[in-house]
Assembly symmetry: C2
Homo-oligomer: 399 residues x 2
């Protein structure tokens, strides 16, 4: 019998209990043991809830119970999740979490603590919700030298961009609608400014390169400035616009960013629409593989946490290896990164080419401006060129 405690009985926490109870026979079979939720930690009471008798208010009840082998941290945020997770690991209790903020900020320390105490700190649900991506990286793509990982890692922004493209609506309008539907939060900053995707690409990059990628070193640009006119140009160019989170290793330099990008239909991320997420991983012998599914939602996220619970149950007293060193990986300046740019310039095509050199222009019937794609150039060169003309906006172009 493997006793589990769930910290936080909100959306994800209650989902974890629901997945275990709904699929109890499958969970037990795969764990090779009976998995049983013993405690639910929450400040609130839940009168009438079928599991109200499991609710406790003091984390020490859980930490001091030697029967509890696995703790699911579904509280979100840094504190008290960080303190509770550390205390659990110090007791040799494995911790499974969907908490991307905490994993991005303290992941390697918590992984080390788990290793030192013969237990596990697992976080499949922290990136891509229900999409299995952490375990495939750790256990399937093992022979590969991975040179890039990219993805659509935020469902809210993907929903907004998909709507803007399909309906020709403005960002503000679609955001309001998404908020009304519950697809976007009242304070949407973490999503629309790219902060959420930034933490997720930091986690994935740390795992594929083996060293810590500090999320604060990742260039992050949101989607708030994308307009319907941008989509008009994108369509003419055969592109779509997605919020891409990406890191790559080029000539032994590492780059990482979150930014709206134009991508073409050859890119498997092109067809990833609405609230769906996808992660693409490129390895030196494997080429590209892609993982696609629901990036959020109560049950998909909970299912990923429970897959971690099962893995912990199968590895009681043993640590599943995870390559994420505490040393920081050096991330090169965005200025050195090289790609084409889509630009809109007030003036004539000559004005634009005087600044950026040879361009591929398209006509999107937007008065008083020209738009097109530059040749590949460094971000530094691009920034210098853009000062030489009356640039309205620019969007990075990714292969």
């Amino acid at each position: 019998m493997v006793k589990v405690a769930v910290l936080g009985y909100g959306t994800v926490g209650s989902g974890i209990v629901e997945v275990i109870k709904t699929n109890q026979d499958m969970v037990n079979k795969k764990a090779g043991d009976e998995v049983d939720v013993k405690y639910i930690l929450d400040l609130r009471d839940f009168p009438g809830d079928p599991y109200e008798n499991l609710v406790v208010h003091d984390v020490d009840t859980i930490l001091n119970d030697p029967e509890v082998a696995v703790v699911c941290e579904a509280m979100g945020g840094i504190e008290p999740a960080y303190t509770f997770s550390k205390k659990a690991l110090l007791q040799g209790k494995s911790v499974c979490t969907s908490n991307k903020e905490l994993v991005a900020k303290h992941g390697p320390e918590l992984i080390r603590m788990a290793r030192e105490h013969n237990c596990n700190y697992l976080f499949e649900a922290s990136v891509g919700g229900g999409i299995p991506i952490i375990r495939p990286i750790n256990a399937s793509l093992t022979p590969e030298k991975i040179d890039s990982v990219s993805g659509i890692l935020n469902g809210t922004t993907n929903y907004i961009l998909t709507k803007m493209e399909r309906e020709g609506s403005d960002f503000d309008e679609v955001l309001k609608e998404a908020q009304a539907k519950g697809y976007a939060e009242k304070n949407p900053e973490a999503d629309v400014e790219g902060y959420d995707a930034c933490r997720k690409i930091a986690i994935l990059s740390s795992l594929v390169y083996g060293k810590n990628v500090d999320f604060e070193h990742i260039y992050t640009e949101g989607i708030t400035k994308i307009t319907t006119n941008d989509f008009k140009y994108a369509k003419k160019l055969g592109y779509t616009i997605k919020l891409i989170a990406k890191s790559k290793c080029v000539d032994e330099k590492y780059f990482a960013f979150v930014s709206p990008c134009m991508i073409n239909s050859e890119n498997p991320l092109y067809g990833v629409n609405d609230v769906f997420n996808a992660v693409m991983v490129h390895g030196n012998t494997l080429g590209s593989t892609m993982y696609y599914g629901k990036g959020a939602g109560k049950l998909p996220t909970a299912s990923a946490v429970v897959s971690d619970v099962i893995d912990c149950a199968k590895h009681i007293g043993k640590t599943i290896f995870c390559f994420w060193e505490e040393d920081n990986l050096e991330i090169s300046s965005m200025e050195e990164d090289v790609r084409p740019f889509f630009v809109r310039v007030k003036g004539t095509r000559e004005d634009a080419e005087k600044a950026f050199g040879k361009m591929q222009f398209v006509e999107a019937d937007v008065a008083g401006e020209v738009g097109g794609v530059t040749e590949a150039m460094s971000e530094k060169a691009f920034n210098e060129a853009s000062a030489k003309c009356n640039m309205i906006s620019r969007i990075r172009v990714e292969a």
Copy 2:
């Protein structure tokens, strides 16, 4: 030090050696031990090959060497691969393979033998080439009750269908071109008749439902009868035509088939083109996830085999659990399966509707016939209806 033997030094076998040697540091790091190729078994000699000194001609050299812990079977076909694999497992040597024929035919027996001898029989490369799909099913989707698995599992036929759609070319013409390019074999039957995809969906289905799905019980229809006119209709309907391999559980009955199907752009498989493969898995709490990548090719397939080698190296003396019982799962008759059908009928729309009931017709400018999609009906009802009119052809429609 984990000593490895490679059986068969053809495309996949030489790829396995190449992946291990190219990524030796990564392989060792992930295995937690040095992984070293000690023998290569082949009937031929390879003078001038960098590893010619590893080549042996007698399998007993490998089987009788207690140092060899992992055997990569890259011979293909049933014999002697089956006998060699059994002998290796009886000695407690783990076997990793890309051999879908053997896994589909004797998988559960070999898995049981591995379990009885505290070693492993792993076959990540047998389905989807380099796409991690076996391990995600076994280790990531663990809490899920999976109710369907579907995919584009054969690169050759996907290449042919993609070309037919894009260029309006005939099947025979594209097949010849694919053969010239090496994308199709001289004897293309196993690919174009769906036999290859059939074995792969049998393997996936056995893993997700936990009981053996006998590939001989799977209805299998190839792509040889698909014409350019079919693609004209498909385009008008907003569909594409793919060779779909699928199994599903509906009301506790299991269905499995390989067949060309019309699918619409909402289906994530719609955008899977050229030689790429993809597998979609639907679970009761997770919803749909999809796994995409190169379904064949020397290095991607070899990379998947080496990921298994690493897993074996990490689990010396221990069996990684795999749920694939030897009992056969009962597969219901295709006649009971229900879906809409696209049909082409010689005559008028009235003739067609007299046979099939209400239909959605489209005009594709093909003289002397009408084409359209029926309401959902059982295959049995459809077959009976089709006898009541002059039907030219039909293609199943999958959501």
